[in-house]
Assembly symmetry: C2
Homo-oligomer: 335 residues x 2
């Protein structure tokens, strides 16, 4: 069943940077066909891979096809059109059968430990021995899920920043017993899909991107609840300053440059005390009824005139233009 050459594609990190058209097709199993599962499906299909979607819900095939239609323009704009994929996409509600013959399993089941443990025990029992095991979970440690496996070294978190077909980041978070080989293969696989995987050195709740996002959002809520700015005004401040900055240079690099010739050490030396003082002044709001009502009212007023789907398409189109702009020039082909 398994052509050994086929699995080399994502077991060899040095192949990852190659243009994906040359890469052989990977047989993927996407477990769970919700928003995240559909987005992974689009990404895998756009890279020429095979996808078996496993989701017990009735009408899942129509749902996935409709989702792919919605994603198609974004994939085309990304230079990865969703073409002639019908024969590469199959549906198999039974998880055991869905993973038979899979080279890679990306699981997007409900965020409940008991369900994930059950799913993964089934997957392990039926997937080929070489298959890569990744869970999209945004919050459950691989260590906890892998407790249900006979070979816990095979499972790793591959948490995408939503939606996976678009945003480059995939947080690769090994559990206590995940093997370095699994991590390496996951990184190579995601990289072959044009993603920017980042391996975390420690399992922490929420991983990194969502923790950072929630830290910023807490102060956003504090400032709006305090009446300093409205939600839309705050958004305008972010997109015209720190958002622009952090799209091209992260917080540490930004402050390194903010330190002048002395870099970050100079910055911390001169502004560290001020930063600590500021930290002590940050708001600690709760999402109580009154705050939720205020934020909802402002969102309705500022964003409610147009359907969310239209705003999303607009945002994603801008996002893609920006990604094209920031993408490094392709290397000169060697003779």
């Amino acid at each position: 069943m398994q052509d050994p050459d086929q699995r080399q594609e994502f077991t060899q990190p040095q192949h990852a940077a190659q243009a994906a058209p040359a890469a052989p097709a990977v047989r993927t199993a996407v477990i769970g066909g919700g928003v995240i599962g559909i987005s992974w499906t689009a990404l895998f299909l756009a890279h020429g891979h095979r996808v078996t979607v496993s989701d017990p819900r009735p009408g899942i095939d129509r749902e996935v096809h409709e989702g792919l239609l919605r994603i198609a323009p974004a994939m085309a704009a990304l230079g990865r059109p969703l073409e002639a994929y019908e024969h590469r996409l199959t549906f198999e509600p039974d998880v055991a059968r869905a993973v038979t013959g899979a080279d890679a399993v990306q699981e997007n089941g409900p965020e409940r430990l008991d369900l994930k443990r059950q799913l993964w025990a089934t997957i392990e029992a039926h997937a080929p021995a070489h298959a890569l095991f990744a869970t999209s979970t945004s919050g459950i440690p691989a260590t906890d899920i892998a407790g249900a496996l006979e070979q816990p070294e095979r499972l790793v978190v591959g948490h995408p920043f939503n939606p996976p077909h678009l945003v480059p980041l995939v947080e690769v978070v090994p559990g206590a017993r995940t093997s370095p080989e699994t991590v390496e293969r996951a990184v190579a696989f995601y990289r072959s899909l044009g993603k920017q995987p980042q391996v975390l050195r420690k399992e922490v709740p929420g991983f990194v991107a969502n923790r950072l996002q929630s830290a910023l959002f807490q102060e956003c809520v504090a400032l709006v609840a305090d009446g300093v700015v409205t939600a839309a005004e705050l958004d305008a401040i972010v997109t015209s300053s720190i958002g622009l900055r952090w799209a091209v240079a992260g917080p540490f690099r930004t402050f390194h440059l903010g330190g002048g010739p002395g870099g970050l050490p100079h910055f911390l030396d001169h502004f560290g005390a001020g930063l600590e003082k500021r930290w002590d002044q940050l708001g600690r709001p709760r999402l109580d009824e009154q705050t939720v009502a205020l934020l909802s009212e402002q969102a309705e007023r500022d964003f409610g005139a147009r359907p969310v789907a239209a705003l999303e398409d607009e945002r994603d189109a801008a996002q893609i233009r920006l990604m094209h702009t920031l993408r490094p020039a392709p290397p000169t082909p060697s003779a």
Copy 2:
């Protein structure tokens, strides 16, 4: 001395969106010729305005000219080349004389209340009655500085996100007694320079952008100090996820879209409890000796191979490409 038409340029908000080449020259006084003062100077000159830099330090003229040379490529890339400005740039160490005949005063003195109060008392005593008064302070409320003025309604904070010649945001923060007219004129002036001014509804320490930046940075420090990721890895996570997002859509819009058709209300309803739980798990690091040593060591290792100035030029070039990408298409010229 004063041609009334000249001051209309920034007293009439409806003129702000016009292409600036048509706007008459404004006579600006830039008080304090440090990094921020030089950056404002470049921006004002690139828009055809006159600038008198007032700074008592010896050699300030050479310093400013050198600074302008460094900024020139960025202004050219922004489509606002710094050309033939020599006759529009003068130096006058005496503040009283520097503001005589100024239409707009942008003060960038040391961040000390006593010094700023002294400076502004002098400025008020010698500037024309129509002159716009703005301070670049990042932390001192206009209310406190304006206590030294006979007409406190004239002073407003115009806090740029560094550097002002490049980053669009200017936080316009009125003090308790700042007049609506002053706020309106400041907004129109900054808009005429291609900036994105945002008026705050309340004076809070650190204003908005720096508070948000410090909230995110606190969690950055926590995660690096905890060994979850290195500084450079954290930066890569930001630029490949939330940074990209926030360059095109702020945090509220992002979560509005994250709520699906139900928008932010649905998002808060479904994820609010999880967010609050996450807030309680955020790190509360201090910048103690050990943490500063760790961050400095990582910055040196990850960014130290190249001079800060080179990294800065590279970052700013990427920033400008991104701004061009995100800039809305110019309106079709009317016949």
